[in-house]
Symmetry: D2
Subunit: 347 residues, 4 copies
C-alpha cells in the first residue's frame, strides 16, 4: 500500500482534463495561441474575475511568476516577498534570471504571511541612497501561502496599500489560488484586483491539470511586450491549444473550486485528526490543502513504514508536510489517521 | 473546405500520443521528472542513438535550443549558425537570453545549409583581438534545415571537423530531426554523435506530439548544471511524466519515423506535382516535409480562395511555404495539385 | 628610434589635461559627480552643441556606448550598426551585456559607412513575425567611422530619417567625434541632434585625455534610470571630478578641435605622401586621423625594421592602419614618408 | 570654515599620486594594459602579499567587487555576505548584473562582521532542494567592514574554513584594506591568502588615489576569462598606465600604509574624544578610519552649523558617520572635538 501526501504535483490528472485535451484534438488549428479556445479564455477568466483579464497560458508556475516579475521590475529594481516564498527559495533564481538581475528582498512573517507593518518598515529604509541602491518595484504575495495559510481580502488590501504608497506593483503567486478562494469563500475578485493585485499567476497544474498555468494581467499596461519576453524565454507553446483546453476545463462548471474544495476538506480533516494526537504538533493554521506538523520519529517512521508518503521539510529533522489533492479520498485520510493514532498510543 | 499546409505545429496530435498521455495517468507519481517513465527514456533514446544519451524532456523547442546554447557558450562567447536559423530569426533572442548575452553569428549558405568553407573562413577571421572580441564557442546546425533540406552524414562531419578545429561545441536543432533521418535513410547516430554532434534538440511536437521536445546530450560533460538552468528558466515541468509519455510514444515502434515518413512522402508528392506547373518555381530541394515555391498571384490567390492554407514567406511577395505533416493525406495533396493545375492552365 | 602610429590610445596625455587634473585637486569635494565642475559640464557641452545636453562622464568609450545601448534597446530588441562597428567587433559583447541580451545587426557598407538604402532594406525585412522576432530599436553610427571616414550632415540626416521611420532611436559613437567635426568643418550640432541623433558617446581619451569619455543625451527622456544602470555597471566614479576636469580641459578654448585638427592634418599629409608611392594602395578616403593602406611586405617590413610602429589589420596579411594623434609631429610623418619612399624605390 | 568628515572619497588626491601620473606621461606606450608599468605591478603586489598575485587594475571598487563575483559565482549561484555589505546595499545590484542574476544572501552580524557560526547555519539550510535552489558559491568579506571594524587573521580563517567546507570561494572587499592592515599590524598575507581568501578588491581611491582599484587574484584558476568579462563590462581602460601609475605610487615606500595610518590615527583620536562627551554614544569599535556615533540633534546640528560635514546614516534620525582620511589633520579633529565639547556641555 502507498498513499501519497507528498505533493499535489504528484496527483494524477482529472479525467475532465484528459477529456478536454482529447476534445480539442480536432483537425488543424492555428498555432502559438491563435486558436479560438485560447482567445475565448479571456472571456472566461474575465467572467470568473468579474473584470477584464488578459490571459497568458503557460506550462509552468515558475514561468508565470518570473514573467510577471519581468513585467513589474527592471534589472535595477527589487521585489519584496516572504523569505519563504516559492520564488525566493524554490525556483533557483528564476526571478533574477527573467528580470535581468533584480534583487528579491525576503521578509519574515509568521505562517508564511507578510505583515503590512513589516513591509512598510522595510520600504521606509530605502530611498536614501539615490542611484546607489536598487529601486523597490514590486511585491509578490503567495495565496495560498507556502505554509498553507491564506490572506483575507482585508489583509491583501492592506499590503497592497503599503505597496502602492511606495509605487510598487503587486503580483499574486496563485499556484494554489483555487484553494485560497475556496477556503475564504470569497469571489476571486475580492482577493485580487479589487484588493489591489495588478497581475497574478493562476495555477491549475497542482489542482487536477496536467501542465497548465496562466499569467493573468488585470492592469493591461503591465502586459506591454510580455509576448516577446514569453517567446524569448521559450514559453510560447506552439500547440498552445492543448494547455488552453486544460484551463478551460478547469473553469468549466467551477471544477477548479470543486477540486480545490476536496483538497481543502481533506486537509482540514487530516489536521483535525492529527492535532488531537499526542506527539504531533500542528505548526500552521490549515487554511488550504497543506498540513505542517512536528512529529516524533516514532510516528513519522511508523507512517512511512506503513506506506504513507509525505515530505520531511527541508532543513529540519521533525517537521513534515502533508498535502491533500483534488482526488484525495476520505479513506486515504482515515487510513493515515488510524495508523497515526495507533503509533501515538504506542509512543 | 479548408486544407492546411501552414505548419506542422497546426496539425492535430496523433491518437497514440493521446493514448500514452491517458495511460500514464495512473495514481500518484513522483514529480519533476523523478518518475520511472522519464528515467526509462534515457535507455530508449540510448537505443535509438546507439550510445549513451542524457535526456531532458521539455515543452518547447526554443527551450531545448536555448538551454543547449547556455551549455556550450558563455556570455562572452559566440555561436555560429545559418543566418536563417530558427534560433537566429524566430526565437526573439532566446539564445541571447539563456546565454546571458552571447552573440549569434549568422552565416549565409544556399538552401539553408552551411558550408564548411564558409564556416572556416568566418572562424579564421577571429582570434586576433584577444579579450576585445567574443570567443567563438558553438556551432548550431538545423537538421532538417529551415528550408526543408538536409545535411548528409558527410556534410555534418565536415562542419563538425571545422568546428572542432576551433574548439567549438556542436549542437543540432532537430525540430524536424525525424524528417531528416527518414529522408536520408540513415541511423540517427550517423548524423549526430558519430558525425561530431555534442548535443541536440529532438523535436516531437511538430511530428504528432502535443508538446514534447527533448534536449539530448551525447557528451555528458556538457550536462553540468543543466538542471539548474532548466529550473531557473521555468522549464522543469512538475508533471513531467505527461511529456515523457509523449516522447516514449513517439519512439515506440518507430512511430516518429513513420509519421515523419508520411510528411516527407506527401511533401515530395506535392513538390513533384507543383514543379511541373507553369508559373510555379521550386526554390529549394525538397528533402523533408517542407515545400518552398514561387507562385504567381493568380495561382496563390486561387488556392487561397479554394480554401487551401499555407504561409506567404515573411518579407516576400510571392514565395510560399507548404508544410506536410504526419497526417497529411494523399487526397489533401491531390486536391491541391488539381486546383493548382487548373489555375496554372488558366493563367 | 621608434615612432608610433599604432593608436591614438597610445599617445601621451596633453599637458593641459594634466594641469587640469592637478588644478581640481583642491581640498575636499563632494563625491560621485556631485561637484561643481561636473555640474558645470552640462552648461559647457550645451554651449558646444547649442542645445541642452545631459552629460554623464565615464572612464571608457565602451561604457558610454553600452550604457547608451541599454537606454535605447530592451533585451528583446535589436540595434543596427555597421558590421565593422567597434561595438560589434571590439567590445567583446558589451552591448549585449548591458542590454541584457539584445541583438546587434551588422550591416555592410563601403569604407565603414552605412547607406540609408541598406538600412531601409534591412528594416523592411522585419515586422512580419510578431513576438517571434526581436524588436528593431536602435541605430548606432560611428563618427568618424572605424575606417577613418566621416558622415556628412546630410548623410547622418538620411540615416536618421530611415531609423525614425521605423521608430529606432539613434546613437552616435563619437570616440573620434572631434576628428569628424574638424574634418567636416561643421558645428557639432549639425551632425548630431540637428541631424536626428538622440544620444552620443563623446570621446576624449583618444584625443589627448587620460581617461575621459562622456555619454551625452540630447533627448532627456532617454536618460531615465541611466544613473542606476551606470552605478550597477560599476561606472559611477567616486572621484568623478578628476574625469570631469579632463572633459572640461578638452572643451576649454576648443582644444579638442585643435588636437583633432593636428591628428587629421598629419593623417592627410601621411596619406597624400603614401598614395604616391608604388606598392602602396590607399584603401579608404582619409577624412579623419586614420590611414588604411595595402603595402608590400618589403615596405611594411622595412618600416617596422626602421622603428615605425603601426598595426597589421586583424585577419589580413597586407593591410595596415596608421593613426595620427594630437601630438604627431610633422617630422614623424616626414620621417615615415622618407623611409617609405626609399623602400618603394628599392622594391 | 568647512571641515569634511563625510567620506574618504571626498578627500583630495595625494601629491605623490599626481606626480606619478605626470611621470608616466612620457611618449607613446602600448594601450590596454600592455605597458611595462602595468606588467610590473604583478611583481610589486606579489612582494606586498608575499605570494604570486594576478593584478587587474580598474577604475572603481564596484567593478572590482562585481568582476570578482562573476569569477566565483555562476548565474544560478548565491553569494554570502553581510546584510550591510557595500555590494549588497550600495552598488545598485552590480553583483547581480555581473553574475547574470545570482542571489546575494545577506547575513546579520554585530558591527558589520560575519560570524562563522551564522554562516555555517545559513549554509546548513541549503542543499536539500537539488536544482530547485541556487548553488551556494561564494563568500565576500569586507575588510575593513562597512562599520569601520576589522576581522583578525583568525576570524578570517574561521570564516574561510566554513566557506571551504561548503565549496565556496572567498572574496575580500578591500576598499579600505589598507586601513585594516594598518589597524591590525599584520602582514597583508595574514588576512588574505594565508587565511583562505581567493581573490580580493584592493582599494586605493579612498586612500589618496584618484581612481585606482585592483582586483587581485591569488588562485590563478579564478582568473580564467576574467579579461573578457572586464572588457565586456567596459572596464578595460585603454590608457591603463595612468591607473597603474597610481597603484604603483601607492605601494611605493609603503605609502598606502602611511596614508591609511593617518586616517586610522585621526579616527581613533576622534572617537576617543567623542566617546567622553555626554549626549554622544559610540556605536562600533573604531578599528579603521570610520567613526559611528549616535548624537543628539543639539550636537549634530551645532556641528553642522559650525561648518563640519559628515553623513547622517541613511534610514536613521540620529546616527552619524565621520570618516577620516589620508590627509585629515590633527587640527581638523581637534577643532571638531572642541566644538562638540562646547555643544555637549551646553546641552
Amino acid at each position: 500500500m502507498s498513499i501519497n501526501f507528498r505533493s499535489d504535483n504528484e496527483a494524477p490528472v482529472a479525467p475532465e482534463i484528459l477529456d478536454a485535451v482529447a476534445a480539442v484534438n480536432q483537425g488543424f488549428v492555428h498555432a502559438y495561441g491563435e486558436d479560438q479556445l485560447t482567445a475565448d479564455l479571456e472571456q472566461k477568466f474575465s467572467e470568473v474575475f468579474a473584470t477584464d483579464v488578459l490571459v497568458w497560458p503557460l506550462a509552468t508556475g515558475t514561468a508565470a511568476n518570473s514573467l510577471a516579475m519581468a513585467q513589474i521590475c527592471e534589472p535595477f529594481g527589487s521585489i519584496y516577498c516572504h523569505a519563504h516564498a516559492h520564488m525566493n527559495t524554490d525556483e533557483c533564481g528564476a526571478p533574477e534570471f527573467f528580470t535581468g538581475g533584480a534583487k528579491l528582498a525576503g521578509l519574515k512573517g509568521d505562517h508564511g504571511k507578510l505583515q503590512p507593518g513589516d513591509l512598510a518598515s522595510a520600504l521606509d529604509e530605502t530611498g536614501y541612497l539615490d542611484d546607489h541602491e536598487v529601486l523597490p518595484s514590486g511585491l509578490s504575495l503567495s495565496q495560498a501561502t507556502e505554509f498553507g495559510t491564506v490572506y483575507t481580502p482585508d489583509e491583501v488590501k492592506s499590503l497592497c496599500e503599503v505597496a502602492r504608497g511606495h509605487n510598487l506593483k503587486v503580483h499574486m503567486d496563485g499556484a494554489r489560488f483555487a484553494n485560497a478562494v475556496q477556503s475564504l469563500g470569497v469571489a476571486p475578485a475580492d482577493i485580487t484586483w479589487k484588493a489591489g493585485i495588478d497581475l497574478m499567476s493562476f495555477g491549475a497544474t497542482k489542482n487536477g491539470a496536467m501542465m497548465a498555468e496562466a499569467l493573468l494581467v488585470f492592469d493591461s499596461s503591465l502586459a506591454v511586450q510580455l509576448g516577446r519576453k514569453r517567446k524569448r524565454a521559450g514559453h510560447l507553446l506552439s500547440k498552445m491549444r492543448y494547455v488552453s483546453a486544460q484551463l478551460d476545463a478547469c473553469l468549466c462548471d467551477d471544477r477548479w473550486l470543486a477540486w480545490a474544495g476536496n483538497a481543502n476538506k481533506q486537509a482540514t480533516r487530516l489536521s483535525v485528526g492529527l492535532a488531537d494526537l499526542p506527539g504531533i504538533e500542528l505548526l500552521h493554521p490549515v487554511q488550504a490543502n497543506e498540513v505542517f506538523v512536528r512529529m516524533s520519529e516514532k510516528i513519522s517512521g511508523g507512517l512511512y513504514k506503513a506506506g504513507f508518503q509525505f515530505h520531511l521539510w527541508p532543513g529540519t529533522q521533525d517537521i513534515f508536510r502533508l498535502v491533500c489533492t483534488w482526488c484525495t479520498k476520505d479513506e486515504d485520510v482515515d487510513s493515515l489517521l488510524n495508523k497515526a493514532s495507533q503509533l501515538a498510543v504506542v509512543s
